[in-house]
Amino acid sequence: MKGRWTGRLVLCLAILMVVSLAGVAVAREKVTFWTSHSGTPDRQALELICQRFNESQDKYEVEMTIVPGSETDIAKLMTAVAAGTGPDVYLIDRFTTAQRAVAGALTDLTPFIERAGWRPQDDFLEFAIEESTWSGKIYSLPFDTDTRGLYYRKADFRDAGLDPEAPPATIDELEQVMAKLTKRISERRFERIGLIPWLGQGWHYTWGWAFGGEFYDYDARKLTVNEPRIVESFAWQQKIAEEYGIAAIQGFASAFGSEAQDPFISGKISMIVDGDWKIAGLERFGPDVEYGVGRIPVKAGVGPTTWAGGWAMAVPRGSKNPEGGFEFARFATGPVGQEIYTRDTAHLPTLKAMLERKDLFEDSYHEVFLDMLPFARSRPALPVGALLWDELTSARDYVINGDKTPQQALDDVVSRVQPELDKNF
C-alpha cells in the first residue's frame, strides 16, 4: 500500500518536471514595455504594435504596461530604475533624451546599433535622430513626430470680410486679421478673440522661431534665448497682452475647456496655433466646423517655420533584457510600427521613407503638416531641456502679465539655465 503511494508521487513529480521543462523550451524571453500614453487611440495603436512584434518572431515576447507620467514627469520610471525594477523599453518625450541620458537613466544604444551594422541616420529625419543623440551617442530611437500650423475658422473670416482661403502669412497681417476678428461685448468682456498667441501650441519656441530667433549656439555651447529676435517675439506677445488687456483675456480664457468645449470648436477664438493632432479632435467634437490650416505667420523676411516634437523608444538603465528591448524599439520605430502608429493615431512618421505616404491619412489637412516637415525645427537637444522649457514658460508668463520686461525675463532664463548646462561639459 505504502509502495503504491510512493510510486504515484514519483510519477506525478516526473510529469510535473517534464511539463515545466517543455514550458521553458517554448517560453520566449520577456520584454517589458512601459508607456504613459493611456488615451485613445494611442494606446490601442501601441498594443497593436506589440501584437505584431510578438507575431513576427519567436525569441522575444513583449508585454505593455501603462504607467503614470507625462512629457517631463517620469517619476515612476526614475524610482523604478533606482530600485532595479525598471522596464526594458520606455516611450519618452524625445527632446528629454539628452537629459535622461545625462541623469544615467538610459542605456547607450550605440553598441547595439553597431552590432546590427545599421546607420539610423540614413533612415530617420535629421532633426529626430539629433534629438535622440547626446555627445555622439544614440540613447533612443525616434518614434512619431508632429508639426504645428495655424488653424482658422473660415466662417469667421467671411463674417469679418476676410478671404477664407488666405490665412495671414506675416505677423503684420496676423495683427490686422486679429483686430478684425475680435468682437467685444463690453470694455472687459469678449465675445470672440481673433487669436490668443500663447494658447494651444503658441509656445515661446513657436514665436521665437517665427521671428527668426535661435535658442542655442551648438559651437559655443551657449544658450542664446536672450538674443534680439527672441526678445522681439516676447515683446510682441506683451504688446498683444496690453492691447487686449491681460486680465480680460485671462478671464475669457479661463472658461475654455477641451473636447466639445474647445474654444476653437465653440467659436470663442477664430484662430489658434496647434499641432496636427487637433485634426482628430475637430473631426470628433466639431465635425461641422469649417476650417482651414495655414503655416505659422512669420515676421517679414523670415522663411517658413514650424516646430516638431514627438516621442522615442529608449532602453532604461538596468534593463534585464536590453537586447530584447532594443529589438522591440527597433521594430516599433521601424516601417511596421510607424505605419500602424501613423495610420491609427494620425501622428507624423519620423522615417524618411514614409514622408510620401499620404495614403496613410484619411483627411486632406495632414498633407499641410507633412509638407512642413522638411523645414521643421526641433528644440535643442540639451540635458537641461525640461528646465529650459519651464523657465521659458515662466518668462513668457512674467512678460504677458507685465511683471518683467522681455529682455529682463530672458536674461534671467540664461542666468538660471546656463550654469546648469555648463555642468555637463
Binding site: T72, D73, A105, G251, D397, Y398, R416
Partner: protein, 298 residues
Amino acid sequence: MKWTKQEIRTILTGLAFASPWLVGFAIFTVYPILASLYYSLTEFTGLDVTAFVGFGNYIDMITKDELFHKSLYNTLYYLVLAVPLGFVVAMALALALNLKIKEISFYRTCVYIPNIVPAFASSFIWLWLLNSEYGLVNLLLEQVGIWGPAWVSDPKWAKFSIVLMAQWGAGGSAMIFLASLQDVPRSLYEVADLDGATSWVKFRYITLPMISPVILFHVIMALFGAFQVFTPAYIMTAGGPANSTLFYVLYLYRNAFNYGKMGYASAMAWLLFILALITTLIVMKTSARFVYYQGEER
C-alpha cells in the same frame, strides 16, 4: 543599577515582539532620512551621485535661486493666511454643530463629507466652481452685483483661491473641536450662568481655555499641512500663472523628478524640515502662556 536576568528577558521579548515595526521603521523611515541628508550634500540625479558639493546646494538655494525665494514666499503667504482662517472657520463650524437641535447629526455628516473626497477630485471640482465665466462662485457673486475675478488664472488671485479652497476641508478639524467642546464640564457653564455671564464671556473664559490643548494640536498640524501644500497647485495650476502658485514642495518635486536634481531637492527638504521645526518650537514655547491643561494650577 543592574538588570536582573528576568528583566533583560522581558526587554528582549518586548523588542522581539516590536521587531517587525522596528525593522520597518529603520528601513523605511530612518534610512531614507539619513540618506537624504547625505544626498543633500551632493549632486545626485536620482540614480548617480555625480559630485560631492558640501553645503553648495544650501548656499545656492539661499543666495542665488530666485525661484526658491519665490516658492518660499508663496508657501509662507499661504501659511499666514490659511492657518488662522482655517482655525476661525473650523471653530465656527464646531460651535454651530454643538447646538442642541434635533437634526444636528445630519449637519455634522454634511460638514464632514468633503473630507472624504480625495484632494485630487476636489481640486477638479473647485476648478469648475472657480471658473471665472461659468463658475458657480462668480455666478453667485454676480447676483449681488460683484464682478468676480479670474480666480485661478489671475496671478494676483491664484494663491488666495487656493487658501479659500483649503477651507473646504475644515470639517475634519471642526469634528475634533466639537469633541473637545463636548468635553468641557457642564458645571462650569452652570456656575457662570448663576453669575450672569454673557455667551461671549463664557466662550472667552471657559470654552477657549478648556479646549486650548486641542487648539494647540490643531495649529501645529495646520502649520505642517501648510508647509507641505502641494496637491491643489499641482493639479489646478501647475504652479502658474507666472509662478504665483509655485509652492515650496511643488518646486522641490520639480527639481527631483523633472530636472534630475535630486540632491538639490533633498537639500530643500532638509531646509523645510528645519523651518518647520523652528516654527513648531516657537509655537510650543509661546503656547505655555495660552494653553491650559486641566488640573493645572494658575
